[in-house]
């Protein structure tokens, strides 16, 4: 699998603040690559460097195997931070400018406007658009020329639930067609549903990168409950396969084991210890839990 973006030792400081510290990772072609991290972790700074609006202090990167240049950027559809358009021009005329810079035919504009659901408002001035419509126009602009690579920074920003679902479906459809999508997002649910690979940043440092399940360990766990969870919590530690108790909610215990346990056997084992379970369920750690564990460590 070829590499779309290869980042090598990129560092960036804003005054005395380390926005990025020696970041290196590769993005394989055809992946849906999530860039995760809390606010201020350096996600947008990283994408700003890749799109040449910010300059790294140290480090290099290549796009599609070549040093970054305008030629490469024209082949990438990018939505960075906020939608940036000329307020006094209509959506259509703004896309004419974007198409001219990308050296794409204006004939593609109706398609992307339709895709973004903006056909009816294409001739209204950008300044009259709602936040969601502005975001849709930015997505439409990124889609001009049907690029093979998309960089989407918080693509669901400002969208209503229907819009979020539409963007998620759009990303899935694009991923299915083999496009590479690089996406920074806070919405882990969104990332969980569409991303194949992730890089996790915290305070400008790389915590991990690679396939989602490799970077964020998401072992199965068993959710158990009894009349007295305090005693259950003490006894379960004696189970031969016990590994750890995960942060719990709703008064239940979440337990991981070093091997797959049969739920009937576990129930039987608890009964032998004199504890009768009133809740027993095999579950999978959510990406949010894995992310919080990773970024809080």
């Amino acid at each position: 699998m070829s590499t779309i973006l290869s980042v090598k030792n990129i560092s960036k400081m804003y005054g005395s603040v380390h926005a990025l510290t020696s970041i290196s990772f590769d993005i394989p072609a055809g992946s849906v690559f999530g860039i995760l991290g809390p606010n201020g972790s350096g996600k947008t700074t990283l994408l700003g460097i890749v799109t040449n609006v910010l300059m790294p202090d140290v480090g290099t990167f290549t796009l599609m195997g070549a040093p970054s240049s305008a030629v490469q950027r024209r082949k990438i559809g990018t939505l960075l931070e906020t939608p940036n358009f000329y307020h006094y021009l209509s959506g259509y005329r703004n896309l004419q400018i974007a198409a001219a810079i990308k050296q794409q035919s204006e004939a593609d504009i109706p398609r992307v406007l339709e895709l973004a659901g903006l056909t009816a408002r294409q001739h209204s001035a950008f300044k009259t658009y709602s936040l969601g419509m502005k975001q849709r126009l930015a997505i439409a602009s990124a889609m001009l020329g049907d690029p093979e690579v998309l960089i989407l920074d918080e693509p669901a920003n400002g969208l209503d639930p229907v819009g979020i679902a539409e963007v998620r479906n759009l990303i899935r459809e694009l991923a299915k067609s083999g496009k590479t999508i690089i996406m920074a997002s806070h919405l882990l649910d969104e990332v969980e549903k569409v991303c194949t690979h992730v890089v996790v940043l915290r305070k400008g440092k790389l915590l991990g990168s690679g396939p989602v399940n490799t970077v964020m360990s998401r072992d199965n766990f068993v959710e158990i409950g009894s009349a007295d969870n305090h005693i259950l919590g003490t006894i379960i530690r004696d189970h031969p396969a016990f590994v750890q108790l995960l942060p719990s909610n709703e008064g239940l215990l979440r337990v991981t084991f070093n091997e797959t346990v049969d739920l009937a056997d576990l129930n039987n084992w608890c009964a032998q210890q004199g504890i009768w379970l009133n809740h027993l369920q095999m579950s999978r750690k959510s990406l949010e839990t894995a992310f919080l564990e990773l970024t809080n460590n």
């Binding site: 609006v53 030629v71 940036n84 358009f85 000329y86 005329r93 001219a100 050296q103």
Partner: protein, 263 residues
């Protein structure tokens, strides 16, 4: 470059402010000449007019008159340029242009295109003003003598626009850049010229806009100064060279700032 020009045209074609500024700029070249002509032709008593010599709107003096008058109002084009450039920062479209596939130097070239275009608009409008006033209000036959003044004017407009571009790129905020530009062109440079001439002599005349002013004296004032024994201290070539150096320096700052820092 043609692609850049096409994109800049798309940005302004439906921008009402742009056309209002252009209209004002053209008016600022023609209107003052009408007023000055009116003052000289109608308000100065006919008996006193022969004392002033040939009309300032007769060829070949009209070249100097229109160029000199234009040099006082060319700042309007600077205000338009500041608006066009700082709009990009306000809407963050300068970043989007780069993201979409411009090199940073393309962004600078797109703004230099406006420096040249607006200077040519001012130049052509002044040229038309020369023909209108020289032909309809002057009494002498057409002559190209003194036509070099209009090229001095073109150079001074380019200096003024380069200064506006540099301020817009450095300051980024429309209001502040406009205040600084107006403040510099209307008061600050005059103050600096006064201080410099008082302390260091004629070198004060080599400040960016003053260099052009030294080359474009108003005909009547020039006559008065000559009668008073005043002589331009430097050869014209020195002032021209100074203006070219300012243009190069200002454009260098614009390139350097845009290509080497975060957008």
């Amino acid at each position: 470059m043609l692609q850049i020009i096409k994109i800049e045209w798309l940005k302004v074609k439906y921008y009402r402010t742009f056309w209002v500024f252009i209209g004002l700029g053209l008016l600022s070249i023609l209107a003052p000449n009408f007023i000055i002509h009116d003052v000289f032709a109608r308000r100065i008593p006919k008996e006193a007019q022969p004392l002033l010599g040939p009309s300032i709107y007769d060829f070949p003096t009209v070249w100097q008159t229109v160029s000199s008058v234009g040099s006082y109002t060319s700042g309007i084009f600077g205000l338009l340029l500041i608006t066009l450039v700082t709009n990009e920062f306000t809407y963050k479209t300068h970043r989007q242009n780069i993201i979409d596939g411009w090199e940073r130097r393309d962004f600078v070239l797109s703004k230099l295109f406006w420096v040249v275009t607006l200077a040519l608009v001012a130049f052509l409008a002044s040229l038309i003003a020369v023909f209108i006033f020289g032909s309809f209000y002057g009494k002498a036959a057409f002559s190209l003598e003194n036509s070099h003044y209009i090229f001095y004017y073109l150079l001074q407009v380019i200096v003024s626009l380069s200064l506006a571009l540099c301020l817009a790129i450095l300051v980024k905020r429309t209001g502040l850049a406009i205040i600084l530009f107006i403040g510099y062109t209307m008061f600050l440079e005059q103050l600096l010229v006064f201080i410099a001439k008082r302390n260091w002599g004629n070198a004060g005349g080599l400040l960016p806009l003053q260099a052009g002013d030294e080359l474009l004296p108003f005909p009547v004032m020039e006559k008065v100064e000559k009668l008073a024994g005043y002589q331009v201290p430097y050869d014209n070539g020195v002032y021209l060279m100074a203006m070219v150096i300012y243009i190069v320096l200002l454009v260098f700052v614009v390139f350097s700032k845009t290509t080497r820092t975060d957008l």
